[in-house]
Point group: C2
Chain length 329, copies 2
């Protein structure tokens, strides 16, 4: 079976021949895969001509398959696997060639995201945002805080990221409330509720963690009105996308003191321009979209996930990472 790996030029963590060979050695039942590699147009054209599976990066999706691309350029293609968990940049999915299934990379990010999430919560509890502001001004101003035990965290989106965060929060004795589409129970949540219950749940949040995919339903889900439903002194972590919260309203709530602090890994726009107000909003800590990328293990896990999907396909099981074009994840 032919697999083509297309890396964008200059990408930080290309999927290498060495990584694929190591993965094939880990998964002897995938020995029939014959991989090819490329990072330019010629290599793509050659590779895709007989590939059944394409492994590539989000930015390559639309670029390699503009709407109306003749099916004859990739006659055998039936699966495109992307290295990102969130494929919002590929919406709408009108460009997907007929009969081709899209896989996301959900599942790579759980451990790393769990560490980022609990780090952010510990930082907010310890008052690190206020200390960071004070350090800029050379101000020594103690603020004390108790431990996390018994505090309530609301996690909006209990998938791989949110589940990883929930697991760590339980380890610190927190009460964990998960918000998910179906409200199914989750082993690391004390309660789960559907998104329709959000307005009743937000007033209970000492911490709110955003880990949902960006979809039409979650765009601006943390609106100005809902920020107002959070208790005074609440803390917010955004590991999702900048567009899931009302960024202006968040900055206003930090300025006014309604929110005690925020840690965000995402922003609108990215990269954030040097003169943007977000950089200088009080008690706002910004990281540059790194919360769930694990440089050493990322591609290893990506390949494990792809192979698990190929195995499911061969055995007639549902593909765990299949993207529903209508839902977008």
């Amino acid at each position: 079976m032919r697999l083509h790996v297309q890396n964008p030029p200059g990408v930080a963590h290309p999927v290498t021949e060495e990584q694929v060979s190591a993965a094939l050695a880990r998964h002897p039942d995938m020995a029939h895969l014959r991989p090819s590699y490329g990072d330019d147009d010629a290599a793509f054209a050659a590779g895709i001509a007989d590939a059944e599976i394409l492994l590539t990066f989000t930015r390559e999706g639309r670029k390699r398959f503009p709407v109306g691309t003749p099916r004859s350029l990739a006659p055998k293609l039936r699966l495109i696997a992307f290295t990102s968990a969130g494929l919002d940049a590929l919406q709408p999915f009108d460009w997907v060639p007929d009969g081709v299934t899209i896989l996301n990379n959900r599942g790579t990010h759980g451990d790393k995201a769990g560490e980022y999430g609990i780090m952010a919560i510990l930082m907010l509890q310890t008052r690190m945002p206020a200390f960071a502001d004070a350090q800029r001004e050379g101000r020594w101003q103690p603020l004390f805080a108790t431990t996390l035990e018994g505090r309530t965290v609301v996690i909006l989106g209990i998938g791989t990221l949110g589940g990883g965060v929930a697991r760590r929060c339980k380890g610190f004795g927190m009460r964990v409330i998960g918000i998910r589409s179906g409200a199914d129970p989750h082993p690391d949540c004390d309660e789960t509720h559907p998104a329709t219950a959000l307005d009743e749940i937000l007033p209970r949040a000492d911490f709110l963690v955003l880990t949902c995919p960006l979809t039409p339903q979650t765009r601006n889900i943390l609106s100005r009105e809902r920020i107002g439903l959070l208790p005074r002194g609440a803390r917010v972590v955004n590991m999702a996308r900048g567009a899931v919260w009302d960024q202006d309203a968040i900055m206003d709530a930090l300025d006014s003191g309604h929110l005690d602090g925020c840690v965000t890994d995402v922003a609108v726009p990215e990269p954030l321009p040097a003169d943007h107000r977000l950089w200088r909003t009080p008690r706002m800590i910004i990281t540059p979209h790194v919360s769930s990328d694990d440089d050493a293990r990322y591609n290893e896990r990506t390949l494990d996930i792809l192979f698990e999907n190929l195995r499911a396909d061969r055995e007639g099981r549902p593909l765990p990472n299949r993207v529903d074009p209508a839902r977008g994840y």
Copy 2:
């Protein structure tokens, strides 16, 4: 039995009558204690005249008992319990009235210190010091990192603080090496070594956490030479005292890039003046001596520890928090 509680004027977290009453209710076997309270000279003189036990704050030690204080001012006194775990500010112990036992507050700080320690390690692993520098300049510059699993942390001082940090580090799959005077095994350390082995251990440290008391033996224990023994790119957390490391050498090692980052909760001097170089040292994150103070539960635990010592005294057991004036802890 008479207990006098002396709070310094304006202290952030005075031990209150309400807290003592609640503690007496938690410990019915302490019902014979008759407490008095004060925060000025007159209340101290009245309270100490018949008190057997004094509960007070470090800064009151020398102030209330200048060397040569007549024993007749506190004729029944036999125990002074301090609310701090580290009593280095009271050394040398030449001021202690004859026949009086000194208790520290070791044991209050473990959970809180564990949360601070793992927060600091997660921040260093995630490159938060570099991101904090970048935020000051409005610079969006991703740096990626893997998870903590398998990384080595050396913890210098495995008492209450270090033990709390060790426990959290094990929860993240780290390899934990404890340095302690006796090198006794510790349930949350993979290895323990005596301080004499420090020079051989330091080259193995991805992370070094300082949690030792400040004593003549630990002053400048992380000297300029020993900083040089750490591997390039190591990270250091100081939760002990500013004088246990060579602060100038630490700043130089961050400037040169030998160290990747530091989180410190202590400084020389405290409070750190606004124009001090430490505030602006690259990849240095400073918190103002808050790493082990838990505002909500601190006095509650202080009283539990005092009562446990009184119980040991009554039953003829060694007092768990008795300070050895020669060792200083």
